[in-house]
């Protein structure tokens, strides 16, 4: 540790020298790493937006419970209160006959005149239950078993699809993280090996003089971290620019799309990409250095 502290400036100078020795190649590595991390950032941002949309849809997920005939209004109120207490129910609301009819008229639009053929309102009151999709099955069982509920209509197929989409987004995100991680580590470890090869005579001399492996390897680790960190910062800046531009475009054209907060997305990228690049730089350098350690 003492040796490392005494040689801090030497390590930074060496790092600069190692990078300058293969400047063009290192520059392309930074761009390559930056692009890969940018892709990862895109997937993470896409996953975030997707998750947000799915969550929004989840919040909209609902089932409808229809009452038994001849049930009194007070029983209906009581049932609504009971349903509201079931685990996984976000909100519950009684929709009376008139509102049910109004809703159908809205759906039918110009065709709503067909409803005038009925002498009486053909619709029945029902209970509208917004639920957490993950708890759908137990909620359905609970509501069906309530006295006074005759029939429950669920949008199982739609809700199952929503769940599948969420799952697919998550898997895609994990796969992308793994792919980016492995690729970056491979690129970087090859870069470090190249640097070691270019400096093999110096490394050999240091070994003969008794230098510990860690002393020889540290500037290479530093250069690996520096280059990937640079790539990470490049990727983060590009992504911030892209998010800002995209939000301006989408915000003015697709107003109804419920996007997550721009600030949250940007903050996440600014924190995630440089941190990840730092870790990948450390790992890549570590793997690259195995060629020193094995000898």
């Amino acid at each position: 540790m003492k040796t490392f502290l005494y040689n801090i400036s030497y390590f930074f100078k060496e790092t600069g020298r190692i990078i300058r020795l293969n400047l063009l190649s290192n520059l392309f590595s930074v761009i390559g790493t930056g692009l890969i991390l940018f892709l990862l950032g895109l997937v993470v941002t896409g996953t975030d937006i997707g998750n947000h949309l799915v969550n929004m849809l989840n919040e909209e997920a609902e089932i409808n419970g229809y009452f038994s005939k001849h049930i009194s209004e007070s029983d209906k109120e009581e049932l609504v209160a009971k349903i509201g207490k079931i685990y996984g129910v976000r909100s519950v609301r009684l929709v009376d006959k008139d509102e049910a009819k109004k809703r159908m008229e809205d759906i039918l639009g110009e065709e709503a005149s067909i409803l005038e053929l009925f002498k009486e309102n053909p619709f029945e009151a029902f209970v509208e239950i917004r639920i957490n999709v993950d708890e759908m099955d137990p909620i359905l069982d609970n509501v069906k078993n309530l006295n006074g509920i005759e029939y429950v209509r669920d949008n199982r197929e739609v809700l199952e699809k929503i769940k599948d989409i969420t799952y697919a987004f998550k898997i895609l995100g994990y796969l992308m993280i793994a792919a980016v991680g492995i690729t970056t580590i491979i690129i970087l470890s090859h870069m470090i090996r190249q640097g070691i090869y270019n400096n093999r005579e110096q490394i050999n001399t240091l070994r003969l003089l008794g230098s510990p492996g860690a002393f020889i390897g540290f500037p290479y680790v530093l250069s690996g971290i520096f280059l990937t960190l640079l790539g990470g910062i490049l990727a983060a800046l590009s992504l911030v620019f892209l998010i800002k531009t995209a939000y301006e475009g989408i915000g003015s054209t697709i107003l109804f799309l419920p996007l997550p907060s721009k600030k949250d997305l940007i903050d996440k990228m600014i924190l995630l990409l440089p941190s990840l690049s730092f870790i990948l730089g450390l790992l890549g350098s570590w793997f690259g250095l195995t060629s020193i350690r094995k000898k």
């Binding site: 040796t3 005494y6 400036s9 003969l208 003089l209 008794g210």
Partner: protein, 225 residues
Amino acid sequence: MIISENVSLIYPDKTQALSNVNLEIKPGELVYITGPSGSGKTSFLKLLMGMEFPTSGSLSVFGHEINKSNYGNIQKLRRKIGPVFQEFKLIQGRTALENVMMGMRFLGIKPKQMKEQAHEALEKVGLGHKKYSKVENLSWGESQRVAIARAVARKPLLILADEPTGNLDYDNAINILKLLKSFREEDTTVIITTHATHLINNEKNAMFINVYKGRITAERKGMAV
């Protein structure tokens, strides 16, 4: 203390470099290893530095059993040695001062002291005025002096100089030997290999070892063999 007992070295291609070498070298001793090219002088130095391992026998260098040492122990031993390689092994693109300091960076010496020791060593070898010159711009003799400065600046227990007079004219060779001998006064063991016996004929206060085809053919203290 260096103790070699029945040390033999056979290279992977079956070349017998050393055969049954028995030696004892005390701290602070000046040792000349002589013999023709290919006799095994450099191989013996390589054993002392842990660059090669004895095929049989045992070799102890300042308490480090070469046969039993792992990489970490060998590196510890090397930190006690100041080697002057035949081909110098200076790091190109660096100044003389940087090269000398490079040999000390991992010895736990404070930066200021490290710089002082490097300056002092370069002054000692007569290169104080060229400390900021890149080593690739130095002459053969100057490069060799930088290599010597790098070896001695570390204040080692043992200086190993492999054919330091190899490519030098008589006057320069004598000067280099004088320089190397001077470090012995600082209680450092100095081992020098050379095939130029005429340069050391008048040496009285040293140990002479003659090697021929991997065997010690003569060992004597005092005058050259």
